[in-house]
C-alpha cells in the first residue's frame, strides 16, 4: 500500500535490552527507522526499553505510549498473554499493534514471528541425520516459564517422537546465556552417560561446547547459533573435522515488523489471524567462511529487510 504515512508515529516497545540479540535488534530498528524518517516515510519512530524485563513494566510503558498518541506500536513482548489487557486498550484507542519476536495472543494485534517450534524440530532432525537416528540427547533450554522456551521444547519433543532411537538423557536451563548454559551443562555432565547430540535453543552452543571441553569430552553435534564466538568456534572446529550448521532468528527482522506497521498504517490489508513467519537465518558449512568474514568480532550474523522485500514477503504468503 502506498497511503501517506509521513505524519504517523511508530514506537517500539522493547521489554529487555540486556543481551546481544536485543542490542542488535535495537540497532537495526534505529537504522531502519532513522532512514524512514529521513525518507519522510514516517514522522518519528523511537524505541523504548524497559529495565527489568517485566510484564507490569512493559504494560505501563505501552499505556504511556498510547497516552502519547503513537499511531502504531511494535512490541517485543515479555509475555505472550499478560499484556493482552493493555493491548486491548491500545487497539480500542485506535493504535495499530504489531507484535514481534515476543508475540502476543491478543487477536487485535498483528503477529510477526519466527517458527520457533519448527526451528527446534529441524534441530532434532539434523541430529537424527547425523546420528543415524540413534543416540543420547541432552537438551539445553532457555529461560523457564518463557513461552519461546516452551515452544522450542515442544518442537524438541515432537522431533524426538519422529526418531524413537534417540533418547533424551537430560535437560537443563541455559537461559539463552553462554555462561549459564556452560555452568548448567558442566553440572549435569558428570552424571550423564555418553552424550551423542545436544538439542539447544540457540545462542548457547559456545558455552555448551566449553563445558564439554572442560569435562574432556568431544563436542557432540549440535545446531550452532549466529553470534561471533559461536561461528568462530565452529570454524575452528571445522579444521578438526567437526561438521554442523547454524540456524538462528536474525534480530534484524525487526525491520520487517517496522515495515509491517508502516504498511498497515498505509492501508494495506494484512491478516491478523495468522502469524507471519519471518524466515530463520541458516548458515551451512559451506557458507561459514564467507559469513564469518563478514561480521566483526563480537557481532552477530544478521539480515535486515527493506520495504520492497517486506512487501514481497508479505504478498508471497
Amino acid at each position: 500500500a502506498t497511503g501517506d504515512t509521513s505524519q504517523k508515529k511508530i514506537a517500539l516497545s522493547n521489554s529487555f535490552a540486556g543481551n546481544a540479540w536485543r542490542q542488535s535488534m535495537l540497532k537495526s530498528w534505529n537504522a531502519v527507522s532513522q532512514q524512514a524518517v529521513a525518507d519522510k516515510k514516517v514522522a518519528a519512530a523511537p524505541a523504548f526499553t524497559t529495565a527489568e524485563n517485566q510484564v507490569t513494566e512493559q504494560a505501563q510503558q505501552i499505556q504511556n505510549l498510547i497516552l502519547q498518541g503513537y499511531n502504531a506500536i511494535v512490541i517485543d513482548a515479555v509475555s505472550p498473554t499478560a499484556l493482552n489487557g493493555t493491548i486491548k486498550k491500545a487497539c480500542a484507542a485506535g493504535v495499530v499493534v504489531v507484535s514481534f519476536d515476543g508475540v502476543v495472543d491478543e487477536p487485535c494485534a498483528y503477529r510477526v514471528n519466527f517458527d520457533f517450534k519448527g526451528w527446534a524440530e529441524q534441530g532434532v532432525d539434523y541430529l537424527a541425520t547425523r546420528l543415524n537416528g540413534k543416540g543420547n540427547i541432552l537438551e539445553v533450554r532457555g529461560v523457564a516459564g518463557i513461552s519461546v522456551d516452551n515452544l522450542m521444547h515442544e518442537g524438541v519433543l515432537e522431533g524426538l517422537k519422529k526418531h524413537p532411537g534417540m533418547k533424551l538423557v537430560g535437560s537443563v536451563n541455559g537461559d539463552w546465556t553462554q555462561s549459564v548454559a556452560q555452568k548448567a551443562v558442566a553440572g549435569i555432565l558428570p552424571t550423564l552417560p555418553q552424550v551423542d547430540g545436544v538439542a539447544t535453543e540457540g545462542e548457547m552452543s559456545f558455552g555448551i561446547a566449553q563445558a564439554f571441553k572442560a569435562a574432556n569430552r568431544p563436542a557432540p553435534p549440535m545446531i550452532i547459533g549466529s553470534t561471533y564466538p559461536e561461528l568462530q568456534w565452529w570454524s575452528e572446529q571445522t579444521k578438526a573435522g567437526y561438521q554442523s550448521r547454524s540456524l538462528s532468528n536474525p534480530p534484524g527482522a525487526v525491520s520487517f515488523a517496522f515495515w509491517v506497521a508502516q504498511q498497515v498504517l498505509a492501508g494495506k490489508k494484512i491478516p491478523k489471524e495468522v502469524t507471519i513467519n519471518v524466515p530463520l537465518l541458516a548458515i551451512s558449512q559451506q557458507e561459514l567462511p564467507a559469513k564469518l568474514a563478514a561480521i566483526p568480532p563480537g557481532g552477530i550474523a544478521d539480515v535486515t529487510y527493506t520495504l520492497p522485500q517486506t512487501v514481497a514477503l508479505l504478498d508471497k504468503k
Binding site: G18, Q60, N64, G85, G145
Partner: protein, 311 residues
C-alpha cells in the same frame, strides 16, 4: 515540643511532596494525563503495586524484609488464572493456603530466630517453582468477575485513584489506628519490651506475615484482573519496587516505623516515575540508566527535604 511536632508533620508530608514533584512535570509534558481516561491509563497498574507495597510494609513493620513478595504475587496470579477459573473452590483453598503458609513462615522466623531475608529468599524460589509447575507457559485467563471488578468505571474520578484511596484508608485504620495494629507495631519498635510484658512475638509476626499474605493475594488478583492472563514471571520486580515504595513513604528498615498512607503515595510515585521515561525522548541505550537516575532523584528528594528539616 512544637519543634518535634513540626518535625513529625514534615516527615509525614514528605511522600506527598515527592508525589507532586513527579506529577507536575508529567502533567506539563503530557496534559492528557490529567483527564479521566489519562489518569486511569497512567495509574491502573499502580493498584497491584500499592497492594504489594502494603504487604511489604506489614513485614517491614516487624523489622523483616520480604524478598518473596514479587514471586508470590506472580504465583497468586497463576493460581487465579488456572485453578480459580476451572475449580473455584480449589483455587480459593489454594489462596487461603498461601496466606497460611505466609503466616507460618512468620511464626517460624520468630521461633527459630532466623533472618527473614534468607527465608524469604528461599521462599521466593518456592513460589516461583510452584507458579511454573502450575503454569509452565504463560497463559490462563482471569476469572470473569475479576476482570469486571478491575474494569469497573467509577464516576468522576478514575477507578485506580479511588481504589488507592480506599486501600490507604483501610490499611491506615487497621495498622495505624486500631489498638491491635499499634501492638503489632510495638513488636517492631521494641520486641524485647513486648516480650517482657507478656506479648507473644510469634503471634505478632504470624499475624503480620498473614496480613502480608492477604495483601499479596489481593495484589496478585488485581494484577490478574488487569493483565487478563498470568505468567510465572509476572511480577518479580514488585519485590524491590515495594521495598522502595515503603522507604519512599517514610518507612524505615528497623524500629517498626512505617506509614501506610506514605507507602501508598510512595507506590504511586514510583509508578509515575517509571512513566516519566516514556514522555522523555532518550536513546534506547540510556533508558535503563534513566530509570535508575529517576529512582535516585526521587529518593534523594526525600532525603534533601529531611536533611533541611534536621538542621
Amino acid at each position: 515540643m512544637t519543634f518535634a511536632n513540626t518535625q513529625a508533620r514534615l516527615r509525614a508530608m514528605l511522600p506527598a511532596i515527592s508525589l507532586v514533584a513527579v506529577l507536575v512535570p508529567i502533567a506539563i509534558m503530557q496534559p492528557t494525563v490529567m483527564s479521566y481516561f489519562g489518569s486511569s491509563l497512567l495509574l491502573n497498574l499502580a493498584v497491584p503495586i500499592v497492594l504489594a507495597t502494603l504487604a511489604q510494609l506489614a513485614i517491614i513493620t516487624v523489622n523483616d524484609l520480604d524478598l518473596s513478595i514479587g514471586p508470590f504475587v506472580s504465583l497468586v496470579a497463576c493460581i487465579g488464572a488456572t485453578l480459580l477459573v476451572k475449580q473455584p473452590w480449589l483455587g480459593a483453598l489454594a489462596l487461603a493456603g498461601c496466606v497460611l503458609a505466609y503466616a507460618a513462615v512468620g511464626a517460624l522466623i520468630e521461633l527459630r530466630q532466623i533472618p527473614s531475608i534468607v527465608v524469604t529468599l528461599g521462599l521466593s524460589f518456592v513460589w516461583s517453582g510452584l507458579a511454573i509447575v502450575l503454569l509452565p507457559s504463560p497463559g490462563g485467563t482471569s476469572p470473569e468477575w475479576l476482570g469486571t471488578a478491575m474494569g469497573y468505571q467509577t464516576p468522576l474520578i478514575a477507578a485506580p485513584i479511588v481504589w488507592s484511596v480506599l486501600i490507604a484508608i483501610v490499611g491506615h485504620l487497621l495498622l495505624m489506628r486500631s489498638s491491635a495494629g499499634v501492638r503489632v507495631r510495638g513488636a517492631g519498635g521494641n520486641p524485647r519490651a513486648m516480650r517482657r510484658f507478656g506479648w507473644s512475638l510469634v503471634r505478632s509476626k504470624a499475624t503480620l506475615y498473614g496480613v502480608a499474605g492477604v495483601f499479596g493475594v489481593l495484589s496478585g488478583l488485581s494484577l490478574l484482573g488487569l493483565t487478563t492472563s498470568a505468567d510465572a514471571n509476572l511480577a518479580l520486580r514488585y519485590t524491590l519496587l515495594s521495598i522502595a515504595a515503603v522507604i519512599l513513604g517514610g518507612g524505615e528498615f528497623i524500629g517498626g516505623r512505617v506509614s501506610v498512607v506514605g507507602a501508598v503515595l510512595g507506590a504511586i510515585t514510583l509508578t509515575l516515575a517509571a512513566s516519566f521515561l516514556a514522555f522523555l525522548n532518550i536513546s534506547a541505550d540510556w533508558q535503563v540508566g534513566m530509570q535508575g537516575a529517576i529512582l535516585i532523584v526521587v529518593l534523594s528528594l526525600r532525603v534533601l527535604l529531611q536533611r533541611g528539616e534536621r538542621r
